[in-house]
């Protein structure tokens, strides 16, 4: 009841889904997928989102209660969450409201800046790799520098062949390595999904009884 029935649901449902890919019959394509699975999955989705909200809120509450390191900042999490949620539910999500204003002038600049910070960290990682002085790191950096320079006007001024070399790197060695990796990923993902379907892999059900 606690583990066996969920396992049976996954195994039987997995086999039905496998059939769904190969059988274009109305029962599979329309009745099973569009009439049953999709509406049910959509109906369950908001509760999964709520689970995430509850989990994060409980984590921050525990942090405040335990006076864990940097607990004071958890109040800012709650402030941001509550104000945005109330603004969305009371004022609506249309443009011109507080909800959208907060997204456009607070969340968007912050997340864009957060991602742009990575440019500095990647430059520092590249410097550290270069200092390692290994041949592999030098090849990696050389490929990166050529690809980067080919995308800016300065690169063409250095050499008019740079864009051609960059395109060759992307089309030949890059393609070969990505294809090899992708084939490995494909084989791995098929093996993992088969393990789930056969009930060998059960970690997604969580621990306990």
């Amino acid at each position: 009841m606690k583990k066996t029935i969920p396992l049976i649901i996954v195994i039987v449902g997995g086999i039905i889904f496998l059939l769904w890919v190969f059988v274009p019959h109305k029962i599979m394509a329309d009745d099973f997928y569009y009439e049953f699975f999709t509406p049910w999955a959509r109906a369950m989705a908001p509760f999964a989102a709520l689970l995430g909200v509850m989990s994060l809120s409980m984590m921050h509450t525990a942090k405040i209660k335990r006076r864990a390191p940097k607990w004071q900042y958890s109040y800012f999490f709650f402030a941001g969450f509550l104000i945005t949620t109330l603004a969305g539910f009371i004022g609506g999500t249309q443009k011109g409201g507080i909800f959208m204003w907060m997204f456009e002038n607070m969340a968007m600049p912050m997340s864009a800046t957060m991602f742009s910070l990575l440019a500095f960290y990647m430059a520092s990682a590249a410097y550290k790799a270069f200092r390692a002085r290994s041949v592999e790191a030098t090849v990696l950096l050389l490929a990166a520098i050529i690809v980067m320079l080919a995308q800016v006007p300065m690169g063409v001024k250095i050499s008019k062949h740079l864009p051609t070399i960059s395109q060759w790197i992307l089309d030949v060695p890059n393609l070969a390595s990505k294809r090899g990796i992708m084939l490995g990923v494909g084989l791995g993902s098929v093996a993992t999904t088969l393990k789930i379907m056969l009930g060998i892999e059960r970690s997604y059900l969580g621990g306990g009884e």
């Binding site: 649901i9 999955a41 709520l50 999500t93």
Partner: protein
């Protein structure tokens, strides 16, 4: 001060607060980081209520009287029992329901990640570049085959795959850095044109 300039000033404050991390970890950055998580979570919650809960659960049940949808609604509620000690096992049911789709991914991953790639790799070697791609694909695959020791001539052949991967990772690294730099340019343009340009 116009409302637009005020909004830009708020954006600039948070942009600089995040950039302050480049100097060192500081309270301003910590505050902005937590605020961003909170706002993003609130944004996600409101949108999932408006775009998923109302049109796919509330309206079908209470306006269109599609009563069978009460079953997935109850199943969805089981997710929340994850936090209880006695009934946490019930949360396995909605998880099992969503895991059913792995059956489809067996066939779809086999098609998109294996068969399509193999079909593209098995073409006549008509020029030197196609030969290089063929050798690269084979050596990269063999590099991850650990049932045979990477020694001798075989080891040297397999190490070719490592060089291919280094070039491939370098290209991905370069493209990612350029994407991040374009974001950085966007932030600097915002600060220079939309904030300082209008202030002074």
């Amino acid at each position: 001060m116009t409302f637009e300039l005020f909004s830009n000033l708020v954006g600039a404050f948070f942009t600089l607060a995040i950039f302050s991390f480049l100097y060192k970890d500081n309270p301003l950055y910590q505050m902005s980081e937590q605020l961003l998580v909170g706002i993003s979570l609130g944004y996600g919650l409101v949108y999932s209520y408006e775009r998923v809960f109302i049109p796919y659960l509330w309206q079908p049940i209470f306006l269109k009287h599609q009563w069978p949808l009460i079953v997935p609604a109850i199943l969805g509620m089981f997710y929340l029992l994850r936090f209880t000690r006695k009934f946490s096992w019930l949360s396995r049911y909605p998880i099992a329901f969503s895991m059913m789709s792995v059956g489809a991914s067996v066939a779809l991953a086999m098609h998109s990640l294996i068969l399509v790639q193999m079909r593209q790799a098995m073409i006549p070697i008509e020029n030197f570049n196609l030969f290089l791609i063929f050798i690269g694909t084979i050596t990269v695959l063999l590099y991850f085959f650990f049932s045979k020791a990477h020694t001798g001539v075989y080891g040297k052949f397999v190490s070719v795959g490592k060089w291919y991967m280094m070039v491939g990772f370098g290209a991905s690294f370069g493209l990612t850095v350029m994407a991040r730099i374009s974001l950085l340019i966007g932030r600097i343009q915002f600060l220079v044109n939309d904030v300082f340009g209008k202030l002074f």
